[in-house]
Symmetry: C2
Subunit: 229 residues, 2 copies
Amino acid sequence: MMEITQLRRNPRIMRDIFEAELAQLGDNLVQLSVKVHEAIVNAGEALLTADVARAQQVITADDAIDELAREADDRAVLLLAQQAPVATDLRIVVSALRMSATLERMGDLAQHIAQVARRAYPSKAVPEDLTPVFSALQDASVRLAKRLTRLLETRDIAEANAIERDDDIIDDLHQDTFAALLGSHWEGTAQETIDITLVGRYYERFGDHGVSIARRVIYLVTGTDTQHV
Amino acid sequence: MMEITQLRRNPRIMRDIFEAELAQLGDNLVQLSVKVHEAIVNAGEALLTADVARAQQVITADDAIDELAREADDRAVLLLAQQAPVATDLRIVVSALRMSATLERMGDLAQHIAQVARRAYPSKAVPEDLTPVFSALQDASVRLAKRLTRLLETRDIAEANAIERDDDIIDDLHQDTFAALLGSHWEGTAQETIDITLVGRYYERFGDHGVSIARRVIYLVTGTDTQHV
């Protein structure tokens, strides 16, 4: 006991412990992001091909995402308690807390997309006319999720900027879904209109959350707060 | 300078400073909650009466909510840096960080409802048949927001439980909106179907966020984690 206490009083050793714990927290976020990427890949596939087994897989897998987010949070709070970080270190830990909540939410949104696919089964929730726009939404969202993992691994600002561009594409495509629903060619049922409206909204929020994480990383790396722009 | 340093080394004085800062953080959250209550009151009124001026007021007022949330966050981070709280104190500060983000999001949802009202003007976004269900959604949401302020002021668990019940009512009413859209009597346009779908979703999320805060307070007061049930 005496020895551990002495070790903990050595600032260099304290710093090494802090760095190691911070690295583990970073790993937790990357793991979360990998799971979110997997969830959106499968949710979109389930949606576009009416694959109910795959939809169910996404819904079931969401528990693991929630659990990972909880682990990340616990680690962050433990870090705050044991290391009492200040300045940049504190900013990193607080950001991690927020990013884990955001990633958890992105998992929920993928799950919601899967739930729509499951409810519509054996029909497709997205009618033929709208398949191209939802395929494009899916592609942009998968790309964004992939970039998020790389961003969390590398802190490369170029990835953060590319995420912002993917989100702009998602926003434009989201507007296209409304244009299609409000155009003279739309003859879908109320259920189809509801599904398209909700799924479009889920993708849009998915993109927004990706941007929120991108901006947090930009802030951590450059000190520039683009979060509230 | 010497004197302040000495004061800060006195544990009792440190504790007093901590308590005072924590009380101010609590006040920030109450102020936020009051603004969120005001926002949902006005957003629902704007929605149900096609009052575009009131809708605009909610949209404009959202900046003040964002600013208050930022203040609360800054105060919480400063508290972490200066006081390095542990155990229950740390739990309170971390919860405050999360609650401010949630309240900020509730403000956004009220703003989204106001935006739908503004876009539909001079028409009403909610057709006559659906006015009763949206009035009921509005009543339950306003009640929930009011309770949230009282809960943050008093930490009375009875308010937290009542918030859960209000949210159950909101969820049931949300289902009623789908039932109406999918019933044989529905003859609304695609735009109306979109608006009802989105506004219903905004109210539902508003209620969910209220519950998330209620559970955090229950956790702080009783130590029982109902957040992940």
